[in-house]
Each structure stands twice: as structure tokens, then as C-alpha cells.
Amino acid sequence: MKLASMNLHIKNGRVIDPANGIDGVSDLFIADGKVLAIGAAPAGYTADLSIDATGLIVSPGFVDLSARLREPGYEYKATLESEMQAAMQGGVTSLVCPPDTDPVLDEPGLVEMLKHRAKTLNQAHVHPLGALTVGLKGQALTEMAELTEAGCIGFSHAEVPIEDTTVLLRAMQYAKTFEYTVWLRPQDAHIGRGGIAHAGPLASRLGLSGVPVMSETIALHTIFELMRATGARVHLCRMSSAAGLELVRAAKREGLPVTCDVGAHHIHMTDADIGFFDSNARVTPPFRSQRDRDAIRAGLLDGTVDAMCSDHTPVDDDEKLLPFGEASPGATGLELLLSLALKWADDYAAGQHAAGASPLARAVASITSDAARVAGLDSGTLSVGSVADVCLFDPAARWTVQASALASQGKHTPFIGYELSGQVQATIVAGHVAYQRAVAPR
């Protein structure tokens, strides 16, 4: 099959394209790797391949704001091949990867190599975040302009807090100079350091050291103050608390150029899911109280939360089969992103009488158009002329989360054993069918 040159006709699917307010059964026509038309075939169009999407939803391919591919440096946890395959099975056609690899993504050569490796696989588009400081050490700024030229779409400090606020100030000033976005997970460098669970009654009972909500809110106050001083644009990663989201809501009202995302697991889980020290529920930031979880759900509906991401973090068995406090944090997520978004729409948003868009459309937007907007990408839409990244999924198909069902080398998730709805039937990247489910739906 010659790539990106065939005419592809997707028939009879329910096309949801939140960016253009489209939601209805229609046909999608693709040519030269781009969306050619929605609805009637353009004159003279002949399809090389037709896919019958009856009963399926046809949406833009998903844009995941955080997926760790573990290359370079952590190939024993996962490889680019395994994780890119997981992305395809999860319908993710664009993914943003944080710089906490080994070595850290702080040099243009490393970024170019990663982009090149990803490109030869011809699957999802990989958009690296460069390290904000050299080696993520929080001291010297990286060559942001060079890194951008190499393909970085923004700059992040991953999971490492910046201890010296002066360095953060300088980094934001410098980023503002070139209008780069700074991606930060709000966490105080000291409060909650070494903590492994939400500081609350459960952590007290289980004797686990806690990460208080104020670790997030103190950092947010600092970040917003620095934004006021510098004018830099900031994207906040993995919001975890009700109080934190309230601060983001106020900052947005104030007009600060800020966006935020949440991890898909955090929309559903609370600290109670740790149960009897289940290391699958060891994640950063930690799962918080039910009140926090409900605020995340509400924030997603009212737009305070711009996007949800998989926060895909493959961890191998040896690092999880340890006492809770010694286990590596993180959960596999690329292949759960769609199902967890749909679960939010089914469980929560449907009961909240959302004004305007349907819960399903909002769920899709949060992993397509809104995520692309946050990352500054022109993907996440089926607009005529845009790159044909498309996902075909059956929203009703049930599947059980188990190691054997996952292509990712990361098999650990607190959802193991859950039955979820939503299965990707085909993933199209730049007009070529990069993944198609072997078995016909139902």
C-alpha cells in the first residue's frame, strides 16, 4: 500500500467534529492524506478503499497531551514500537511526550533522533516537550529556540519541581520572548516531597506519607504571580484538586493565558481505590478525595479543564511488585483514554444537563480539538483541508481491561479487571489506515 496517496471513503458513520460543531451520520472523503469533504462526494471522486462505518463514530484522531514513550533510556519499560502500537490501538494520532527520558530531552540532537525514530514507524505524530532547564536540574535554561527548531512544541519540567523560583521566573521570561508555552505540573518543591498518597484520612489510616492539596495550590499562586509579571503562557499539567481548579477558574476569569489538563484516571479514581495498598493506584499526582474527583468532573464539563490526557506511563512488573511506597508511580493509559472519556460522558456529564454540546461531544472535544488547541497543533479536527487523522470507534463495544488486551508494554493500571465501553475499530493517520481491528465489531 502506497502511503498517503489513496482515496479513502468512510461511509455512514456518525461524524463528530467538535471544532466545526458537526455531529451526525455522514460520509467522509479523504484524498492525498487530507480531508477532502464531509457529506456528498466531490465531483469525479473515486475511492480506492471504502470503509463501512455504520454504527461507529468517526472522530478526529485523538490528541494525547501526555504519553511517555520511554525512549531514550528506559527501553526495558517500553519501546517506541510497543507504545506507538498502543497509541494506534487507542486511536491516538498525535501525542505529546514529556522530556523526562534518560538522557533528558534538553538537546536538539536528542529531539531530532526521537522525531526521526517516530517518523520511520509512520504511526502517531510525536510532539516532544523540551526540558525547561538542562537535565531538569532547575538551574540553567535550555536552548529553547534550537529545541523548537528541532521539533519541540513547548517546554516542561515534567515531574521535577523547580526549587529556585528565580529560575522559574527567568525561564518564563525567556519563553515569553519567543512566545513558547511553558508546561508545568503545579507542585511545591518541599511540601509533599516524598509523599505517596493524598494527605487525608486514608493516608493517615494506612500510614502513608501524604501530599497535601496545598502542594498544588501554593505552586499555583506562585505560577500565576509569575505569569502576571512575565506575560508567559502556561499550560498546567495534571490538576488534581478542587481547590486548585478553583484557582485556575479565577485565573482564567482574570484573563491570564492559562490552560490545564487532567489525567484520565483522575476523572474516575479516588484515594479509596488504593484499597489494601494496591500499587496500581500509585500515581502522581496522587488520587485525591471524592470531592476533588467531583470537581475535576465538573471542571471538564464547564471548560475550566481544557483537556484530558492519558498520562501514559509504562511501568514494568518489577517496579510495581513492591511495597506501595517503593513502587514506581504511573499507569498505562493510551489504550484506556477513549474508554475513560466515554465513561465520564456516560456516568457524570449525562446527569448534569450540560448546556449546548452533548456530553459525548464534550468528551471527544477534550481529547481532540481542545487538546490540540492547548498544544498549539492544527490537528484534532476534520476540517476540509486538514491532515486526515481519523479514529473510528464503537462507543458501545465492551471490553475488559487485562494485560493481554493491551499492546503497551505497560500493563499496570488501577482499572485492571474493569469492563469499559468504547473500542477503536480503525485509526487513520494522514490518510492511511495505520490500524484496523482484526475482528469485525460485534
Binding site: 494527605a199 487525608g200 484520612p201 486514608l202 493516608a203 493517615s204 489510616r205 494506612l206 500510614g207 502513608l208 506519607s209 501524604g210 484499597g275 489494601f276 495498598f277 494496591d278 500499587s279 496500581n280 518489577d318 511488585l321 513492591l322 511495597p323 506501595f324 511506597g325 517503593e326 488501577p414 482499572f415 485492571i416 479487571g417 474493569y418
Partner: protein
């Protein structure tokens, strides 16, 4: 989903492992205490042995230093006629990089019947218990001998035995636990045991830096003023203050701590006249407790140690009698 419903009970509701007192039925707690009282007399006999665990192998797995607890488990095992193997893991495999579960598999292959586990990480004994279930070794039992800040169930049980011995009835008592509740697994196990046995008022006394959040949800009333907290109590459980807490951001100094929270004869006088004073040991005289109290008529600290052996014999013999 992969977690167990209640990993310490088998499908018949019998004690399979002893991991925590939280969630244990009152009947099981009482059964352990009743069994312990039948063992108390054995230590006074010429032949201090019963054959209940003859031919069984007990592995003491201490991933964290302990002399006292390890010794009492060793004595209890020997009085039950079990073979005891002490492993000081820090000095052996763990330092060579062997994982916790690899160590367990190796020892299981040596036909262990029971693991007595102490570990610095909260929840480590759960990981072992779950692994034994996953690898179909349900006949092997786990006793938590202290995990991180989480639980020290045999200490909690011996404290209950001591209280029952002196006070007979739990349902009219006020019990105060004093000191470093934040880092104390003993405090957590005592709180769960006391509430399970129906103690109407459990108090925690300490400065805000040593009181964890969420104590109210565990059924505990908190006090920062020691004099207020001791008023009218029947039982005082003093906690050991670890050396590393005595200077730094939690407490300024041992002297100031003693001034505010040390148990002196004057403070003891605020409690009921027949109040008993307990301590899990080892004591820091002059830091958390005045020698006049520690050696005084109301202290029951040495009987606690004696009862501890009987309680550990009870736990081990009950577990050994449970089929996997």
C-alpha cells in the same frame, strides 16, 4: 480489583494472616485474648513448652532493626515448639538487590509455615500475603510485626490484653495515647483495637506537628494540651519519641517536649487514681516519661512485655490451626 476483599481472613472468615486490627471482627480479637490467657501460665512452669507448633517452621523476617519484638516472637515460637529461623535481611539478600518477593519465594521453597515480617514500608506484609495467594501457597501464614507507620497488630493486641487484665471491661473506659501519633504504627493499631472492643472515648494527645489529619474519622478525640487530655482517663499509653524527631521542624528539643508532654507524677495525678500507665518500649526516660512514673506503682510496662509473649503465642497458634 486485584486487591483482596479482606486479605487476612479466609473464605470461612477465619484468621489466615494477621496484618492489621482494623476490620477484624470483635469475636476474633476476643478469641486471641482468651487464647492468650491460657498461655500466660505456661511461662511460670518448669517446662515452658507446649507442642502446638511442633514441626512447624517460623521465619522471622526483619527488614528493619528490632531486638525486642524479634526476641518475643522467637520466645513465643519456641514455647509453641516451633523451629525458628531469624533472618536479618538488611545484612543479607536485600543488600545484594534481591527483591522482597524473590526472598519470599526462596524461603517458601524451604517449606516455611509462617512469616513474621517487619518492614519499614507501610503495607509490605500485604504484598507478601497477596503474593502467597497468587502463587497458591495459602498454607503459609503472615504475621505483621510492624510495617512502616501502618500497623503493629500484636503490640495492639498485647496492649488490649494488658488493659483487660487490669480494667476487666472496655465499655466504660477513657484511654489516652500520648506523643508521636503521626509516625506511630502502635498508635494506629491501638486505636483500631480500642474502638473495636467498644472503648467509648479514645484520646490522642500531642502537638499539631505530631498529630496526623483524619484522626476524628478513626473515632479519636484530639488534644494538644496534655493536662486537658489526661483529665479523668483510665489508661495512658505513652509512645516512644524517636531520636530523629527531637530536633528539627517537628519539635525544637527533647527538653521542651518533656516540659509540654512528658508524663510526670503531677500530670499523672490528673488521671483517675487507679489509672494505669503503659509504654510499648523502649522508653526514653526524661523525654516522654519521668522515671518516677515509669518505675511507679501505676506503671504496667513490664507486665506488658510478659503478656506480649502469651499474645504472640496465641496469634501464632491460632494461625497455625487455620487451614489455607
Amino acid at each position: 480489583m486485584t486487591t483482596m476483599l479482606n486479605p487476612q481472613l479466609n473464605k470461612h472468615g477465619e484468621l489466615q494472616h494477621l496484618l492489621t486490627i482494623e476490620g477484624l471482627p470483635k469475636s476474633i480479637v476476643n478469641h486471641i485474648l482468651d487464647t492468650a490467657s491460657s498461655f500466660v501460665g505456661i511461662s511460670d512452669r518448669d517446662v515452658k513448652k507446649v507442642p502446638l507448633m511442633r514441626g512447624k517452621s517460623v521465619f522471622n523476617l526483619f527488614f528493619e532493626n528490632s531486638t525486642r519484638t524479634r526476641t518475643t516472637f522467637e520466645i513465643a515460637s519456641k514455647r509453641l515448639s516451633a523451629d525458628v529461623i531469624n533472618l536479618n535481611i538488611q545484612a543479607s539478600s536485600a543488600s545484594k538487590g534481591e527483591s522482597l518477593l524473590d526472598t519470599i519465594d526462596n524461603l517458601s521453597a524451604m517449606h516455611a509455615d509462617m512469616f513474621v515480617v517487619r518492614h519499614a514500608q507501610s503495607g509490605a506484609p500485604y504484598l507478601i500475603a497477596k503474593h502467597l495467594i497468587d502463587t497458591r501457597q495459602a498454607h503459609v501464614h503472615v504475621v505483621n510485626a510492624g510495617d512502616g507507620r501502618h500497623a503493629h497488630p500484636t503490640q495492639g493486641l498485647l496492649d488490649m490484653y494488658t488493659i483487660r487484665h487490669y480494667k476487666k471491661d472496655f465499655t466504660n473506659l477513657t484511654v489516652a495515647i500520648v506523643g508521636d501519633i503521626l509516625h506511630s504504627r502502635v498508635a494506629r493499631s491501638d486505636i483500631h483495637a480500642l474502638t473495636t472492643l467498644g472503648v467509648p472515648e479514645v484520646r490522642a494527645i500531642g502537638p499539631h506537628t505530631l498529630l496526623p489529619g483524619g484522626l476524628e474519622q478513626m473515632g479519636v478525640r484530639t488534644f494538644t494540651n496534655m493536662d486537658e487530655g489526661l483529665k479523668g482517663v483510665d489508661v495512658i499509653i505513652m509512645l516512644r519519641l524517636q531520636n530523629e524527631r527531637m530536633s528539627g521542624a517537628l519539635l525544637p528539643s527533647a527538653q521542651e517536649y518533656f516540659k509540654s508532654y512528658g508524663l510526670t507524677p503531677e500530670r499523672l495525678a490528673l488521671a483517675k487514681p487507679d489509672a494505669i500507665v503503659m509504654h510499648p518500649g523502649p522508653m526514653n526516660r526524661g523525654v516522654e516519661i519521668d522515671s518516677a512514673v515509669a518505675d511507679g506503682p501505676q506503671a504496667v510496662i513490664l507486665p506488658q512485655v510478659t503478656f506480649g509473649i502469651a499474645v504472640r503465642m496465641a496469634v501464632m497458634s491460632i494461625l497455625a490451626g487455620t487451614q489455607g
